[in-house]
């Protein structure tokens, strides 16, 4: 089937629609191709698209410290969080003590993006270890800033580059970031001031969280069947027969994305749809 757009463009445009004017959006700088595409590039492109359309006063906090960078000045992706090319990227402010304790007031960041190797149906995320903590089968990169993302940011988009059974599991090996243990009430009792996870974007579908804080499938991407989603998820998703298809981007949105947001195809890659 011939497609007008890539998977990355589909996710970017859907994300952009969920941002509001005046919000502050945070994205870290991930390394490694799949992680970088999902945690850094798609969010950056989506925020810039929103700024060019319905949210001109949205603030982009790149890597937590680079405020409203001129993304069109990028000739290549920044390769290190404090690399010299990022320090020289035109922007409005650099928060020099990032990620120290006083770089942002709690409540200032409206939304952010994170990822991990495992997610459970309550939206808890693991990025610390596979296996037991005492003797891990695989030690990962450490909690990083994930606990903050899930605890104090307004809402969190979980960006999962791989939709596989081992990534979406009933029980995760380490709760590094807290979703809704014991539902929204359970989360509230912990005193966490952020609203926790709001959506999960994967190559197959978009998940959201219901009033109880339980994950459900909000939409399934064009060309993906409900059975594909079920087969690649390690816990029960219920009946998916009435789940709608993820809305495709319009020609105008694609033109803006390719012409203005990412003219050099730095963020979303050069692959043809």
């Amino acid at each position: 089937m011939e497609k007008r757009y890539t998977l990355e463009e589909l996710l970017t445009v859907r994300l952009a629609h969920t941002f509001h004017d005046g919000e502050v959006g945070f994205t870290g700088l991930a390394t490694g191709k799949a992680a970088a595409t999902y945690i850094t590039n798609i969010p950056l492109a989506a925020m810039q698209l929103a700024r060019l359309t319905h949210a001109p006063d949205l603030t982009i906090l790149l890597a937590g410290w680079c405020v409203n960078p001129d993304l069109s000045a990028l000739t290549r992706l920044p390769s290190s969080e404090y690399g010299n090319e990022l320090l020289n990227l035109p922007c409005e402010a650099q928060m020099t003590t990032w990620p120290g304790p006083w770089s942002h007031r709690i409540g200032e960041i409206d939304f952010a993006f994170c990822s991990g190797v495992q997610v459970d149906p309550e939206g808890n995320i693991n990025c610390t270890c596979i296996g037991s903590h005492e003797k891990p089968k695989v030690a990962l990169v450490g909690p990083i800033f994930l606990p903050e993302h899930l605890a104090v940011f307004g809402r969190e988009y979980i960006m999962m580059p791989h939709h596989e059974k081992r990534c979406f599991t009933k029980q995760i090996d380490h709760i590094s970031g807290v979703g809704f243990p014991g539902g929204r009430a359970g989360r509230k009792a912990l005193g966490l001031t952020g609203n926790g996870p709001c959506k999960i974007f994967t190559p197959l579908c978009i998940f959201s969280f219901d009033e109880e804080g339980k994950l459900f499938v909000e939409s399934i991407h064009p060309g993906v069947s409900a059975q594909d989603v079920i087969d690649h998820t390690g816990f029960d998703l219920g009946d998916l027969s009435t789940v709608p298809e993820t809305e495709a981007p319009s020609d105008e949105e694609l033109a803006l994305l390719r012409g203005s947001v990412d003219p050099g195809r730095i963020l979303l890659g050069a692959d043809e749809p």
Binding site: E81, N84, T97, P99, V141, P143, I175, V178, G191
Partner: protein
């Protein structure tokens, strides 16, 4: 505090100040501002049983873990350019190091309490997660759930953490210990205030007159600093803003070598044990490589290193 005229010492003297088993914190985040000359000297002189309290000082900790110098690591984020840090992860998986996990704000608030001289700090992170549930060598001294006595609001508290030594790489320092750095400083100010002893390694040693003339770049006044060491290219193979880029090839060499203890040992034999000091190390790196890494004053990056200009 040490008096000014004794502060400027050699790298060997500075490394000798650190006893085995010391609790260390290093400057640097990602590939920038890591005091790697100091770290190599620690490895050459065979430090062991170290305790690390870090936020993102991955490059330093990765080398020290590879050299078997570390017992305990408080970790928030150890990420190499290509993902995981192989030496750190191997040691954690084999149980030769014990780890205690913190979030960025979790560990920096422990430093912050020490920096302020107060016993603990309230936090809004880690509670409800396994960072709170799993307490290893910091058991009962890590994070505790707590109700704010004023409002009743649920939060967590973390106790102060004062490392024995903070080792910090900066751009310029004078002999009295006034330190300058341009751009991002990350955890430098906080670990310098939290630590019991502060050792600074500097790209350049300048006159105090020069510091006075450009005082807006001074991030640490001298009274926070105990010792100063002149270490040009002291963050190599990492980088320093406006000085030089990180060396991707050498960082990759470390990551590749870290895949097994044998290849890592071979790396150390060739590059660290095989060079008697940092001068010999940089002779081996070669003047051509170092010159190619120098930052272009206008773009801030090395155009040669990035193959944008030959």
């Amino acid at each position: 505090m040490t008096t000014a005229n004794k502060k400027l010492i050699s790298l060997r003297e500075a490394a000798a100040l650190v006893p085995d088993g010391a609790n260390m914190s290093f400057s640097g985040f990602a590939e920038t501002n890591n005091p790697l000359s100091f770290v190599r000297e620690m490895i050459r002189t065979g430090k062991t049983h170290l305790e690390i309290s870090g936020m993102g000082d991955a490059q330093s900790v990765e080398l020290l873990c590879g050299a078997g110098a570390v017992d305990l690591v408080r970790v928030s984020n150890y990420m190499a350019k290509n993902g995981r840090c192989p030496n750190f992860c191997r040691c954690a998986q084999q149980g030769t190091i014990r780890t205690e996990d913190y979030s960025h704000f979790g560990i920096t608030n422990r430093f912050f309490a020490a920096a302020m001289g107060i016993p603990f700090m309230p936090v809004k992170v880690m509670i409800g997660s396994d960072l709170c549930e799993i307490q290893n060598f910091d058991k009962d001294r890590k994070v505790m759930e707590f109700d704010d006595p004023f409002s009743g609001e649920r939060c967590g508290i973390v106790p102060r953490l004062a490392p024995d030594f903070a080792v910090i790489h900066v751009a310029r320092a004078d002999a009295e210990g006034n330190c300058q750095l341009y751009g991002i400083t990350s955890s430098i100010e906080i670990i310098a205030r939290a630590a019991k002893h502060v050792i600074v390694t500097a790209e350049e040693i300048v006159d105090t007159e020069e510091i006075r003339r450009t005082n807006q770049f001074t991030i640490l006044p001298s009274f926070f600093v105990d010792y100063v060491v002149h270490c040009p290219f002291g963050a190599y193979p990492g980088g320093v803003f406006t000085y030089y880029d990180y060396d991707l090839e050498h960082l990759d060499l470390i990551t590749r070598s870290g895949k097994s203890p044998d290849t890592m040992e071979a790396y150390f034999d060739e590059w660290v044990y095989g060079t008697k000091d940092e001068a010999a190390f940089f002779d081996k790196v070669g003047i051509r490589r170092l010159m190619d890494l120098r930052a272009d004053p206008y773009s801030g990056v090395s155009l040669r290193n990035r193959r944008q200009f030959l």
